[in-house]
Chain length 543, copies 2
């Protein structure tokens, strides 16, 4: 800590965040998220509870092999079992094996949970806290102590609750973290209780020789962010939370909201400015990794957070942004957005054209044609925000700049689970008919499912004419059902991300037939890759 | 107001809420919402700005014909135009024509907005406030004054801001409402500024002869609820907000969060107990009417708000709900829910078994087998949180209680876009082979895509043996690519929700072949529906 107003962020997306219903992270997901948080500049990243499941064990191993650049990876674990010996507790051996410098130990603060939950004595609970922390420290670890149910426990029995903290402190914990585990505490209660603890333990915030405090809140009362801020005001210097507020029930404190409030409004230092402008992008990337639609209305980082409807707002914002914006959206990497009216639609098309290196004039009637086509396709379920390559093809087509590289006659897919029902892999065969340079060609391929067979057949046919296709590959494939209430007849939107090893680009397809939607997106992906050779454009991302 | 701790709720879902991107309310939608809010017991319902658009004019007419039962319907409008005469302002004539007893007038508090926004003098702005309110009162109306940009204005020029309030008060406004229009104010600032106004205007909260105060917050800092509560603590007695927090940008204060906090935790009186238990249902109905998916993670009213996942939690909640629940979910009409996941332990399995009506003992080795099977399947990408019917089938299978109703021999799907490439609808044909009661049967069907063809063929084959299948239908179909980085070979998870007209249930399938994954989920959906007849269970939701 270099300055008095420094806040140490502690991210628990990988543990508490993953408890959200609907989130199920693979090992690769967890590693991707950890690296993103490392890039963002989060000082502590809680990776999970090694030992509780095999994936978490592997996760810590993987990060031992290839450590994070800046962040401290933290292993999470409870105190030892009642009436046991810390050094013989298998759970703690798994923690040590995870090989992190820091460990977070959570223990009981609320007498009710000791007596009724884990059914031991109040004395034994103190011994569990003490032994566990002392043992980990004897093994060279640094310890953060999460006081579970702190506020509820303190309200019922403040004397005992304080004893648990004093025990943790004496055993060598460097941070004492107040957890509002049930999320039921109100901001004025947080302020008062933190104040009382600061007094009881003689804590001097920002004094290096004084114990350090943290806060960990849940959003069951819609107050997780407010509660975190209230605790910081009273001297807390570590804030635990998750990206996008993911977490069990109603979620944890949303770091994407906490950070800008602390840093841009309250004068605390959480991230470097250059890191803070990554916040919006990081939030959205993580929502992609966990495969949840980003919350468009999220404070600060949501797509609608700085959206203005036409009329008074727009002209006022143009004159003086602070009339209708509480912060500069650029500070956190977000942007002001004027909600589409016909006029701003045109300027969008123009600005996109410029981005693609296409010279387009506002008065050119093609400009309005493109807008109309765009609106029609979007009403059918296409979405071009994430599929700029498809949008560029659409634009070039309207301008007569879309060269016909091949003509597709159609496809057939056959998927047989009758003959191969006992095989673990099913057999799918795709046939494709294509016409290139006056030559008609029928090609067939099989795959590990119909979409993969289709993709293979298409490449096999076209590579004979365009050898560079051998370097193309699909790097991402996403499916979204648009009107899921329509059951299996629902419309499907497929996004395909392709790469040629140097660049990558995304295309879109929509159809009630998922194979047809996939086919559209795959075909445009290949066409766009071929176009790249001829007309270098900006709708690609350098890998 | 019958008691000192009474809070007057003011709902602006129909005006401020409707500004949310993606909401577009018809006249019928608005009427339905108003009647729902009336049933809930909201004292003030802001209906819109009559005159600003024809639909709002009609809305007020409709409610003149058939008035609300209890609630006061409120018309919303700005102060008169600069340099005009209130009695000749057409806008105000439209307000009077709306025929409400109460009118909310909003005016400028921030000198910057007066000078730069509407470009008039500070004096004229005061005259606009005074004239407008006096004129409406002369026409028999009661007035609520919304002080726009109150907190920003007060911070910059407190003297002028206070003059606007004093002007409104002197003109006869009964309520002065502090609006945090840009949503950028923090709770401690709200507390301080409200305190200063209370002192400056000699306000005695709950004294009938004293001016009355209100709060209207936006959620741009994620603090709209906390800010409303902070204002109430300082003596504010009207809270303006919207159902589900709908509103422009990041939304307004969410009344579904504000109400339980004020009433169940802070001791204020917002609704009768019998009304409060309607809160969850009203929240969900309104999300249906505005056609937005309910936020499952919303505080208090979300489907996940009282969902328990971790093993430890579940056993503790069973012993004493207050160990892990901050309020009784029943108080607001919500309910506790136990969730299945790979974090779950034996106690989750046991509790689910109880829920399904299955008698299972903790020491029964089957219990651990089920847990192991669950973990294996989840590591393969299955997810049972949302697919309880599949979980029940798995459990019954382990217990030898899964009767084999039919034996599937496999399927073939054929999708032809070669012959029908010009058709807007593609042709898919599915063949299915099934064995029931020793009889082997081959059946074929076509559909609007391969999954729909598969579903049709399966039903066609089985309905001959189980006629009740004719009543089954799919009501939802969701697809997720699990390892999207693997491209078109990625594993696919399909969730299918089925209904028999009375109940609905969800099943899951996973495979690298999307048709196979869909097939698994559809088959289990049918099997579960048939099982329902034999063993009534709780993994279904009454429609």
């Amino acid at each position: 800590m270099d300055s008095a107003n420094k806040i140490l962020l502690y991210d628990t997306t990988l543990r508490d965040g993953a408890q959200r219903e609907g989130i199920s992270l693979s090992l690769e997901d967890k590693i991707k998220i950890a690296r993103k948080l490392d890039d963002l500049g989060i000082p502590f990243i809680e990776g999970g509870w090694p030992g509780a499941n095999p994936r978490d064990v592997q996760f810590f191993w993987k990060l031992q092999e290839e450590p994070l650049k800046h962040s401290e990876l933290v292993a999470f674990c409870s105190t030892r079992r009642p009436n046991g010996v810390a050094a013989q507790d298998k759970m703690l051996q798994a923690i040590l094996a995870a090989g992190t410098r820091w460990v977070t130990i959570f223990g009981k603060s609320w007498d009710l949970h000791v007596l009724e939950g884990i059914q031991t004595t109040l004395e034994e609970n103190l011994a569990m806290i003490r032994d566990t922390i002392e043992y980990l420290i004897s093994q060279g670890r640094r310890v953060i102590y999460d006081a579970e149910h702190w506020f509820d426990g303190y309200k019922k029995n403040p004397v005992y609750a304080l004893q648990t903290l004093e025990t943790a402190l004496k055993a060598g914990a460097e941070w004492l973290v107040f957890c509002d585990t049930n999320g039921g505490t109100l901001p004025h209660e947080i302020s008062q209780i933190v104040q009382e603890v600061v007094t009881a333990l003689n804590i001097i915030p920002d004094d290096p020789s004084s114990p350090k405090l943290g806060i960990h809140t849940h959003n069951d009362s819609g107050l997780a962010v407010a509660n975190s801020l209230a605790a910081v005001v009273e001297g807390v210097r570590m804030v635990q939370g998750t990206m996008n507020g993911y977490g069990e029930r109603c979620g944890n404190a949303n770091l994407c909201t906490v950070i800008p409030n602390l840093q841009l409004k309250m004068g605390y230092q959480c991230l470097d400015e250059s890191e803070l402008i990554q916040l919006t992008q990081t939030s959205r990337l993580i929502s992609e990794i966990v495969n949840l639609a980003p919350d468009e209305h999220a404070p600060f980082v949501g797509r609608s957070a700085f959206a203005h409807k036409g009329g008074i707002h727009v002209s006022a914002v143009a004159k003086n942004p602070f009339t209708y914006e509480h912060i500069k959206p650029e500070a956190i990497g977000n942007q002001r957005r004027i909600v589409i009216s016909d006029q701003s639609g045109l300027s969008n098309v123009l600005s996109k054209a410029g981005h693609f290196g296409i010279d387009l004039n506002k008065n050119d009637p093609t400009c309005r044609q493109i807008l109309e086509r765009l609106k029609t396709l979007e009403s059918e379920g296409y979405q071009f925000e994430a599929a700029e390559a498809s949008f560029e093809l659409l634009m070039r087509e309207a301008l007569g700049q879309r060269q016909e590289l091949f003509e597709l006659k159609g496809f057939r897919v056959h998927c047989d689970m009758l003959q191969s029902v006992e095989m673990s892999c099913s057999n799918a065969v795709a046939t494709i008919k294509v016409r290139v340079d006056g030559v008609e060609l029928l090609e067939v391929a099989e795959g590990n499912g119909p979409v993969s067979a289709l993709d293979m057949a298409l490449r096999k046919a076209l590579v004979k004419f365009y050898p560079e296709i051998a370097n193309f590959h699909l790097i991402d494939y996403k499916v979204r059902i648009l009107d899921s209430g329509a059951g299996t007849s629902a419309k499907t939107r497929v996004l395909v991300e392709s790469s040629n090893g140097q660049n990558h680009w995304t295309t879109v397809g929509v159809s009630p037939n998922i194979l047809d939607a996939s086919y559209q997106a795959v075909v445009e992906g290949i066409e766009y890759g071929l176009l790249l050779k001829e007309v270098p454009s900006l709708a690609v991302v350098q890998s």
